[in-house]
Symmetry: C2
Subunit: 411 residues, 2 copies
């Protein structure tokens, strides 16, 4: 019995260590929340503060517990939502209070009950509006709560304004503490996370394309890309609330990341088809396959290099270098070559025909993938421009390559 518990505890400890090692920011986050709550509870505990705020002090703790999120953007979003909603609802609540008082002792509960019912229903309904849901969901919850509390409790507490003042102050103190700790101690920026996620996803696709078909382990690298939509959207919503940080200004075009993300996901979908073909490809290789395979490999390698540079540029927050253009051009040239081979090669004999279909599918899907990379490249260019990323310092070797390239074209 004791042994079993020991094993369980050891397992949990190992698991916790693994979680912490995977992303040490989790440990910092836990400690930050601990600090904020302890600060607020001391604020509640010590007499001098206690006497000036009384029970309202608990609102500071409550605020910290529900507002403190993992990312800075999440914390700011919830903090501002809470502050604004409390102000608005308290104002309306006081108004409802006066209206209720004017209607006499019998009319008051009816008026107040009706108002609470209408506002709570309407506010709940607005949560189904996608834009409200995305940005102000928490604010609406707090609005309903505060309005109901103020409208009803005012009927008891004669000092409604004093109470409102105390509550607001403690909520502001709680919210401000969360935001300060969140921004100042090891901040986790949702914007930076979104930025890295998109760059990593692009590089995951590159990893797939450059993987040796023999090494099946890399063939899974696109799977995470397929499922990252929900995460991207949450991060983009939170990033919208964030101050400037690192190379990101306050009005960074976060929406463009979602565009890139969805292009990358469509590309990952194509790659899913590709991976199906690679797994089912028959081993025997005929003459025709031997002819078109080098072109396919070249397309794939060049496409992966273009993706690799796009991902690297994004990660380093600079304009993609001309290498992207060059690799894309090379892979399009390989596609051209492939089509020429198909055009001019000796037609496969009947028996081979079935054999070569998977190869043809791979070739065709690769051509589609290059189209998507082209679109992704434009989207990354647009982002670099709108976000004011730095231009890459001129690389002289690169310029030479460019000139050679241009000469080759014009000749």
């Amino acid at each position: 019995m004791f042994g079993k518990i020991k094993v369980k505890v050891m397992d949990s400890a190992k698991y916790a260590k693994k979680l912490g090692e995977e992303d040490p920011r989790r440990i910092f986050h836990a400690v930050k929340v601990g600090i904020a709550i302890t600060l607020m509870s001391m604020f509640y505990y010590f007499k001098p503060l206690y006497h000036s705020f009384e029970e309202a002090g608990m609102w500071a703790i409550l605020t910290v517990v529900v507002v403190f999120e993992f990312t800075v953007g999440g914390t700011i979003a919830k903090g501002l939502n809470r502050g604004a909603a409390t102000l608005l609802a308290a104002g309306l609540g006081v108004g409802a209070e006066y209206l209720g008082n004017a209607c006499g002792d019998k009319g008051e509960p009816i008026i107040l009950g009706t108002l609470v019912f209408i506002l709570a229903s309407v506010a709940t309904f607005t949560r189904f509006v996608p834009r409200v849901k995305r940005r102000y969901d928490y604010g609406v919850t707090i609005f309903i709560l505060t309005f109901a509390l103020v409208a009803v409790s005012g009927a008891r507490a004669s000092e409604i304004l004093k109470m409102a003042y105390e509550r607001l102050t403690t909520i502001l103190i709680g919210g401000a503490t969360c935001m300060l700790i969140s921004v100042c101690i090891y901040p986790v920026w949702a914007g930076q996370d979104l930025h890295n996620l998109i760059a990593t996803n692009i590089q995951n696709l590159a990893t797939f394309l450059e993987a040796d078909a023999e090494d099946k382990s890399y063939l899974q690298s696109h799977k995470t890309v397929l499922n990252s939509k929900a995460n991207e959207e949450i991060l983009a919503n939170f990033a919208w609330w964030e101050l400037g940080h690192g190379g990101f200004k306050f009005n960074h075009p976060w929406k463009l990341y979602l565009n890139i993300g969805s292009l990358v996901r469509e590309c990952a979908c194509q790659i899913e088809t590709l991976s199906g073909c690679l797994n089912s490809k028959s081993q025997a290789i005929c003459e025709f396959q031997r002819k078109i395979q080098p072109a396919c490999v070249e397309m794939s390698i060049e496409a992966s290099k273009a993706l690799r540079e796009l991902g690297a540029a994004l990660k380093e927050m600079r304009f993609p270098s001309s290498a992207v253009e060059i690799h894309l051009r090379n892979s399009k040239a390989a596609a051209e070559k492939l089509q020429n081979i198909m055009h001019n090669s000796s037609v496969p004999t009947k028996a081979d025909f079935q054999h070569i279909v998977p190869t043809l599918v791979i070739a065709s899907v690769l051509i589609d993938i290059i189209k998507f990379i082209d679109k992704t490249s434009s989207a990354v260019d647009e982002l670099s421009q709108k976000a004011g990323f730095k231009l890459k310092p001129v690389d002289h070797n690169q310029v030479v390559v460019d000139i050679v390239e241009i000469k080759t074209e014009s000749s």
Copy 2:
């Protein structure tokens, strides 16, 4: 100015009407929340109740505002989480209180502060464990909140047990009201929603496959399937908490829906490739294409019929009829036919070779899609068995078809 406001108000009203018409359950939900909050605030308002619970009455309102979710499962999950976490945290908090008291006036704030810090940090860290995050996220929040409040406020309130009792009672009343209203008035079951979502997704794929290639509007029907993963997971988590309802027992195998969902999504990914080919297909049709097209169309039609029946069976909560088997067999036969044609047909001339690649890709992807439908069919069969769906009432026409089928095979 006035005109502008009028236009805005009219637009909002129209939009609200649209939202309500899309899913009338949204309106019911808003009204249900309104009723629950009004009930709780009246409970707070009227004197007899007020005197026995005092300020604690606000916890009932607070509970309703944060616990009442759109689905029954969500409401039960949050309500039970809140109840259990409050009980546990209140118990620990009272313990911490006594420990603090034993340490004297100077030691008390240090002991209590340390305990709050440790528990808040550890509890916050556990929220990164996926299983905790999925089921008990809200409970952990409430645990931290209640523990901090009880541990610290007890230092002031001498009647800590009375306070704990009042708070618990009001929270239980608030939670129970939410659950009752949620279950009894037009309940929205997360399980039923998940069930319908998966069935609809299967039918969306069928719609794509049976769509006339000329009618491009249907070619979008698989897009929503690609993005429904996050939604499926939320519904499955909530469904886990739900009581039996309709044909679903308490222990319905909700996890199997996620399996089916991910198979359907992989299939949608293949269809995405297919739709790319259909959009880019050249208009000129050569002899070879004319030969294999009927087989492709047959594969596609038979596959869509199999999917249609799978979706219908799921929706009606019955075992899929033998029609699925038959249609799958037919589409596999068509695939066989296709491969024979490719094997025996006159080899296309060089010029045609490039032309026919999109057709070959379509054929190859269709063959893959049939494999996925096969897997989906097995997954639906497993679900029907484990969930105890009803066997289809014997359909005599169907039996005849079956017998004919068997005869044909054995002959």
